[in-house]
């Protein structure tokens, strides 16, 4: 089966090690050392900014002035910046908006729209299947443009409305086609036996398909949640600037950064550390959830992008 072959191939370091053991070929060790050093450099460059932001958020005012921002980790870490930013009631509101988006969005769009749509497209005899495929495919190639999208949301009353984050993106071309491909990979004997046992189409989806393709479903929900958590541009476009009840966290962070730039007394107010603290709050949920979904990434992206 395909899966076992892929799993076997996943350990692709093994084959080079085998070749290496067989014969220490000329240049192999040099090659490994050079590329490892290169990778190490890349890792440091990648990780340094993150550690810097984390460290900066724990800096105290005095240390910032004394050391002039030249550091990786603070000498005397303090949570003063966090205590300061959590005095702002608008931060709580933005966190609530972002959490609501990240929960409601993926559940409605992935579970109730994309998955069922993908399942419908994977059915053999569904009338109108081809039309539906073309229907979603066209939206992947053509976009509407900023202005008409704004006007349509205006006409349908979604401006300054929480549902503007959810409803327009209910059905996604890429993810429903990915679900279709996933469901088509189900062995047909399993589906036949479920049908012979009298399962309805919905039962097949929930009882057979969902458990079998749990990895794909989980990764799609994770990606949807991350997408919702990270988006700010839609709020910038469709939510009033002073409507603090609907500003998501990332837009709050953007405004926060801009605010502090204009202030001339930024260093005195410990503004740098506070900005970094808001950024850390924006990163934290993703970093915490990331390890649990890591193993699914290769598979999920691979299925969506490569055509055999």
């Amino acid at each position: 089966m395909q899966a076992t072959k892929q799993e076997k191939d996943l350990k692709f370091g093994a084959k080079f090690r085998k070749m290496l053991r067989k014969k220490f070929r000329k240049g192999e060790i040099g090659y490994q050392i050079i590329t490892s050093l290169f990778l190490l450099f890349l890792l440091i460059v990648s990780a340094y900014p993150l550690l810097y932001v984390l460290g900066a958020s724990f800096m105290s005012e005095e240390e910032w002035i004394a050391r002039g921002g030249l550091f990786l980790f603070p000498h005397s870490p303090t949570i003063a910046a966090y205590a300061d930013i959590f005095k702002e009631v608008n931060l709580y509101k933005s966190i609530a908006v972002s959490i609501a988006r990240a929960l409601v969005g993926p559940v409605l769009s992935v579970l109730f729209c994309n998955m069922i749509f993908g399942y419908a497209l994977s059915l053999d005899n569904l009338w109108g299947k081809r039309v539906l495929s073309v229907f979603v495919f066209v939206t992947m190639v053509f976009g509407g443009g900023t202005i008409p999208q704004y006007l349509i949301r205006d006409y349908t009353g979604l401006l300054n409305n929480f549902w503007v984050f959810v409803i327009p993106g209910l059905l996604g071309g890429w993810s429903s086609l990915l679900f279709k491909q996933t469901f088509l990979g189900t062995p047909s004997s399993i589906l036949e036996s479920a049908r012979i046992d009298g399962a309805s189409e919905l039962q097949i989806l929930v009882r057979v398909m969902l458990p079998m393709h749990m990895g794909t479903v989980a990764i799609m929900i994770f990606m949807g949640a991350v997408g919702q958590w990270n988006s700010w541009f839609d709020a910038l476009l469709y939510i009033d600037t002073n409507n603090a009840d609907l500003i998501p966290l990332q837009l709050y962070l953007k405004n926060y950064l801009a605010q502090s730039t204009e202030s001339s007394t930024a260093i005195v107010q410990n503004a740098e550390a506070k900005k970094m603290a808001v950024a850390v709050v924006g990163i934290l949920p993703i970093v915490l959830l990331y390890p649990f979904f890591l193993k699914y990434f290769t598979k999920g992206v691979y299925m969506g992008s490569v055509k055999e």
Partner: protein, 337 residues
């Protein structure tokens, strides 16, 4: 197989030969005409149709609605008094305005194309290089660790990326301070028009390099190991094997990605990122078509020119994708659909 099979299996007379049973009870009962198929489908799948309806409506309104509205907007001269239906119909006037009179047009076109050239060079090669390095690495632990660290920035929003850039490069940022205190050099980054485009690309590469390499790594896993053994037999060293086995082995994916890059020439540059780094000082270098649509189209209510420009952009993009796809298909047999 479907419901028909299951029903007909029960009333099969035992004494008839199998072929006749199949013919009578399965083949003849299968819906044939479109109307029959429609009725059969509605009877069996009505619930499925009901479930996908909300998604279809949302897509029709919020994806197809803007497409048609854009075409209509670009043929009228929209004003708030007239609205959609009573504004003056100007035919191709808006397109003529864009190409001949619009003051910024050449600047934003140049910036967009320039961004895309950088996108091809700086955005296309780093993930491939990273994938090659990771693939030929002996240590599984080191590979897994690197992948974990390098994929992470993909999941951060552009605001986070900007806040990191701000932390490092603003007046009080780490790199600016180091340059000032160690080398005595007063550097200016985020408001420097000459530095802003490289900065944008360094940070977008930082965000996308790891994630972009996944697709190439996945393709490399399908390369036949025997090819490496054969190459080794013929005296191929570790550097050479990259060019004679690994890269040719993922040729299909490389060409596939090229089609998307060619198709994006007029989209060029990540709108969200550019808008975050945007400032009046750097405007002349980083104003692209997409940011113009936001800053002027929406900001100054130039709805009709923006719609027309956006329409030109997407039609050109579409033509380029079709052209690139056809060219790749004829020449290399690679197609995106």
């Amino acid at each position: 197989m479907d419901q028909n099979v299951q029903n007909s299996a029960q009333d099969v007379p035992a004494d008839q030969p199998a072929e006749a049973v199949v013919k009578k009870h399965i083949l003849e009962r299968r819906p044939k005409t479109p109307l029959e198929k429609f009725k059969w489908s509605v009877k069996n799948y009505w619930f499925i149709y009901l479930c996908i309806l909300p998604g279809i409506i949302s897509m029709a309104v919020y994806a197809y609605g803007p497409m048609f509205l854009q075409i209509w907007l670009s043929f009228i001269d929209y004003n708030f008094a007239g609205g959609l239906w009573h504004s003056e119909f100007v035919g191709f006037g808006m397109f003529r305005y864009i190409f001949t009179e619009m003051p910024d047009f050449l600047t934003i076109l140049r910036n967009t194309l320039w961004f895309n050239v950088l996108d091809t060079v700086l955005g296309f090669f780093p993930p491939i290089i990273l994938a090659v390095v990771l693939f030929h690495l002996n240590s599984d632990f080191f590979r897994k660790f690197s992948q974990t660290v390098l994929y992470l920035p993909h999941f951060f929003s552009w605001v986070i990326v900007y806040s990191i850039a701000y932390a490092l490069l603003s007046e009080t940022g780490a790199i600016t301070s180091i340059l000032k205190e160690v080398f005595g050099y007063e550097a200016e980054f985020l408001t420097n028009p000459n530095a802003i485009v490289p900065i944008l690309y360094i940070f977008s590469t930082w965000k996308t390099i790891g994630w972009g390499s996944i697709i190439y790594l996945a393709a490399m896993q399908n390369i036949d190991t025997a090819l490496y053994e054969a190459a080794e037999m013929d005296g191929c060293g570790p550097w050479r094997r990259i060019f004679v086995v690994t890269l040719p082995g993922i040729r299909g994916v490389l060409l596939y990605q090229m089609i998307f890059i060619i198709g994006g020439i007029f989209t060029g540059g990540n709108t969200e990122e550019i808008l975050l780094f945007y400032s009046d000082a750097t405007r002349s270098r980083i104003e692209t078509i997409n940011t113009w649509l936001y800053n002027y189209g929406l900001g100054y209510f130039e709805y009709s020119p923006a719609a027309a420009l956006s329409l030109v952009q997407s039609v050109l993009g579409m033509i380029l994708v079709l052209f690139a796809n056809r060219w790749m298909k004829n020449k290399y047999g690679v197609s995106i659909w």
